[in-house]
């Protein structure tokens, strides 16, 4: 989860998220390079005392500044597509977690646990115990086994919501009348927090998502 004054991405808790962090670094290399180049050009233009009213026909420059950005975009696109297809892999997972969005809470179903159903409401500030996270804690949280693929299926009963767990690198719209699915595979046990990421009404900011990753043994004994 995020801590105070955090501006970076969260520590990854799944391999997909660590790949996303690496891609983010890759994109930032490009962006910082472009930014520095633009700053240098700007400073050079400001310090230049010459006037060029009659500049015409700079063909070589036009060719260079067309080809180079195209190559930079290819440099950005190739890892991006690789990651996109990596995220889209759906191994046959025997564990499923259904997340249904409501205004303004989440409900979960675990078919592997005799279709256990639970509603997950945010804990209001007055109900928090000392030290609990405001706007993030919920009364019931689903569990998934770690180091195991779990398929998350989201949908909604009313308006569009979005099920998000940033440290697992997952964000999926919960659209009424549609089932979206994605896989998660936390590589550590822990508790992962997220918040609804699609505006869904007055209490959109007050419907967090909390998932607990536990060992397969504990999950079996639930």
């Amino acid at each position: 989860m995020s801590t105070w004054s955090q501006i970076n991405l969260m520590d990854p808790s799944s391999y997909i998220m660590s790949q996303m962090n690496l891609f983010h670094d890759h994109a930032m290399i490009l962006l910082v390079g472009i930014f520095v180049f633009v700053i240098l050009m700007g400073v050079s233009l400001l310090k230049n005392k010459f006037h060029g009213r009659l500049v015409h026909e700079a063909q070589t420059l036009e060719i260079v500044w067309t080809i180079v950005p195209a190559l930079l975009l290819v440099w950005l696109a190739l890892p991006s597509l690789r990651l996109l297809y990596l995220m889209d892999e759906h191994p046959q997972s025997s564990n499923t977690l259904k997340a249904i969005g409501h205004q303004w809470y989440w409900s979960y179903e675990l078919p592997a646990k005799d279709n256990m159903m639970l509603d997950s409401y945010m804990l209001p500030e007055e109900s928090l115990e000392s030290g609990q996270y405001r706007l993030l804690e919920v009364d019931n949280r689903p569990a998934v086994p770690y180091s195991f693929d779990t398929m998350i299926i989201t949908t909604s009963s009313d308006v569009i919501h979005a099920w998000t767990l940033p440290s697992l690198g997952i964000k999926m719209d919960a659209v009424p009348g549609r089932l979206n699915s994605m896989n998660i595979n936390p590589f550590v046990p822990g508790i992962f927090y997220g918040q609804c990421s699609e505006i869904c009404g007055a209490n959109h900011s007050y419907m967090p998502i909390v998932v607990e990753a536990i060992s397969m043994e504990d999950f079996t004994n639930l």
Partner: protein, 190 residues
Amino acid sequence: MSSHLFRLALRATKVPQRTISSSSVCKANIVLDQALRDEIHPKIGNREIVGYGSNGLATYIDSCEFPCPAIRFKEPTAEVIKLQEKEKGDWKNLSLADKKELYRISFCQTYSEMHAPTGEWKVIVAAVLLTLSATGWLWMYVKQFVYSPPVSTITVEWQNKTLQRMLDQNQGAISGVASKWDYTKQRWKE
């Protein structure tokens, strides 16, 4: 009036278009037809049109990109005409004051005057500081009278408990808070 008309008029008076430069035009007479004269001269007075300028319009503009404006700056009064007649003779007969006056007849500012600092930055800084101070007052008012009291989780005690909870949950095990805590020694890593 468009520059097209100006060029059309000049062409009609047999001044070749390609020679519309400040120096060659000075040697030719620019004769406009009555209609154009009625349109242009009420705007510029009696001032002499001497060239194309920056865009073909008969306006006076001081600019280092276009050094020679389309019209002279001053109107041809008796003193001006007398000095211009004197200019046609030997320039050694011109005094420094004459030369300066001849410059001022044709031009409004010198290059130094064009590029001299205006001090406008002081006005801009003053306006920005005034705006910032107004914002400051507004912010103090809103903070005092509008905002609700801060939440209970903002206290130092709660934040310490939150930090302990993050450590208990092993949040940020790679580069976050838990990575800086030594779990065996139960203290921060050095």
